[in-house]
Amino acid sequence: MQNARHLYFDAIPCYLSVQDREFRIIDANKRFRADFGDIEDRFCYQVYKRRSEKCEVCPVERAFHDGQSHRSEEQVTCLDGRAVSVLVEATPVRDESGEITSVIEISTDITEIMDLERQLRRSQQRYHLLFDEVPCYISIQDLELHIVEANRAFQEDFGSCLGRKCYAAYKHRAEPCVPCPVQETLEDGQPHTREEVVTTQDGRHKNVLVTAAPIRNGQGEVTGVMEMSADITAVRELESRLTSLGLLIGSVSHGLKGMLNGLAGGMYLVDTGFKKSDQTRIDKGWDAVQRNVGRIRSMVSDILYYAKDRVPNWESLPAITLAEEVCDLAAAKARDQNVELVRALDADAGDFEADAQAVRSLLVNLIENSLDACRLDGKKPACVTVRLRGSADCVRYEVEDNGIGMDQETREKAFSLFFSSKGTEGTGLGLFIADRIAKAHGGKIELESRTGAGTRFIVELPRKRTPQQEPESAPNPTETETPHG
C-alpha cells in the first residue's frame, strides 16, 4: 500500500509534500526531492524558501488551523538556485477520529504561466502607452457607432465622449455622416480611408485623414471599428497657401500685363503727340501713363498686404480725419472720371483704435471699386457717396455708388480671393484684402447691391480692440511703412 501510494505520488506532475504541525516535511514525492533535495529533518520554509522560520502567511498553517483547504501563490527556490512560481494547495489529512495529523501540500509549477502573464501585462502597458501617446486621434466604435474607447489626444480635443455617437463627438452632427468610413468598414469588413473636416470641442476645424479598421472577435465577426485620424491641417494649410501663391502669380501676371498695355498705350500717345505737336494727344497719353502707374502702385500695395500676415499698428484715430484723407486721395480720380464724390461725414463720429494705413487702404479699395463700377456703367450721372457715423461701440463707414451693381454670384463672391468681375482690370485682391483688414480689426464689411442700380459697402469697426488683438510684442514699425520705389 505504502509503495502503491508512492507510485501515485511520484506520478503527479507537481511538487508534493506532507507536513506535520511544525511544518516538518515528513514525506515528499520524487519530483520534490529532485528539485529541492533531501527532506530528512527539514522544514518546508527551509526547503522551499531557504528561510530560518516559517512564512508569515502559510496555507499549511491555515489548513491545520481551520481544517479547510487553502491556496496561495508562492515563489520558491530550487536546489540549483532557479526561482519557480508555484500555485500551492494545502489540504488537511485526518485520522480515524477526525483529528488533523498532517497537511498535504501540492505545488504546481506555474512559472511559464506567470511569465506569460508578465509579458501580457507589459504588452498591455505598451499598448495603452501607444494608444494614448500616439500623435493622432484613436477611437473604438461599436456596431451602433458609439465611442467605447478613445485615446488621450481624442479626449483632449473632443471631450469626454465615451458612450456618445462618433458623428456627434467629431462633427457636432445629429445624424451619421454620409459617406462614413466606419459604416463602410462595418458593412464590408475592410479598412477604409477618407479625408474629413472635424470640429474640436472649442470650435477649431481640423483636416484629418481617417482610417477605419475592423475589430473582430474569435469567430472572425466584426464587433467594432477602430478609427484612427491623423491631423493634416498643417499640410492642408500649406497646400492652400501654395495654391493661393500660384493663383496670386497668375492673377498678378494677368493684371500687370493689362497695366503694362495701358502704359504702352500712354507712351504711344505721348510719343506720337510730340511728333505731331498735338498737345491734346500728349495730355491724353500722359493721363493714361499716370493712371496705369497708379494701378500698378495700388496692386503692389495689395500684394504686399496679402503676402504679409501683418500685425496691426494700433493707434487711436479720429474717424473723421481718416475719412477726409481717403476722400482727398480719391477726389482726383473721381474728377477725372466725371464722378461726383459726395462726403456725408459726421465730424463727431469720435475716435477708434485701428491701424491707420490698413484702414486707409480698406476704404480706398472700396471707393476705387465704386469708381470702377461707375466708369463701367457709364450711362448716367455717376455718384459715389462716402458716409461716416459713430455709435457707442463702433464707427461705421459707408461707400455707396450708382454704378453697374452686382448680380447674385458677384455679391456672394465679392470678398473671395482672386474673384473679379472687372475682367482685365481686376486682380481679385482689393475687396479680399479690404475684408481681411476689417476682420483683423474685429470688424466686418457688408454689401448691398443690385444689378444696374449700384452698390453700398458698410464697414463697421469697433472702437476698442478686443483682448485677443492685444499684441504679444510691440509692433515692428517697418511693417507698416508705405513701400517706396
Binding site: L256, G258, G262, Y268, T272, R281, G423, T424
Partner: protein, 127 residues
C-alpha cells in the same frame, strides 16, 4: 461702316487699351470703332460687320471666347478675321482647347501690345 477705309472693331473692357489700339489704327488710316464688352461687340458686329475684330478674352459678362464662338458659328460673320489680344496666355490655351467646330483665330497677340507687331498683323489680314 466707313466707305473706303477698312474698319476695325476693338473689343476690350480697359478704356486705356481701347484708346491705344484705336489711335494706332487711326494713325495708319484705318477706321476704328470700340466695344467695352462681349455683348456690345456682338450687337455692333450684327449691325454692321467690321473688316477685322481685335478681341480681348477676359472681360466682364460675355467673354471674348463667347464672342469668337458666336462669330465663327454664324455663316454671314464667319469670314471676319479675328485677332485675339489678351494678357493671359493660359486663357488662350483654354480657348483653343475648348473649341469644338471652331477654327483657330487668325492672329494672336500678347499684352502689352507692341504696336508695330500689331500693325503688321492687321495689314496682313486686311490685305
Amino acid at each position: 461702316m466707313a466707305n473706303d477705309k477698312k474698319t476695325v472693331l476693338v473689343v476690350d473692357d480697359d478704356p486705356d487699351a481701347r484708346d491705344y489700339l484705336v489711335t494706332v489704327l487711326e494713325d495708319q488710316g484705318f477706321a476704328a470703332v470700340t466695344a467695352k464688352d462681349g455683348a456690345e461687340a456682338i450687337s455692333m458686329i450684327e449691325q454692321s460687320a467690321p473688316d477685322l475684330v481685335t478681341l480681348d478674352i477676359t472681360m466682364p459678362g460675355k467673354s471674348g471666347v463667347g464672342v469668337y464662338r458666336r462669330l465663327k458659328e454664324d455663316d454671314k460673320l464667319r469670314s471676319i478675321p479675328v485677332i485675339i489680344i489678351t494678357g493671359v496666355s493660359d486663357d488662350f490655351q483654354k480657348f483653343i482647347s475648348t473649341r469644338r467646330q471652331v477654327p483657330p483665330p487668325d492672329g494672336f497677340i500678347n499684352k502689352p501690345v507692341e504696336h508695330e507687331q500689331f500693325l503688321k498683323l492687321v495689314r496682313e489680314l486686311l490685305g
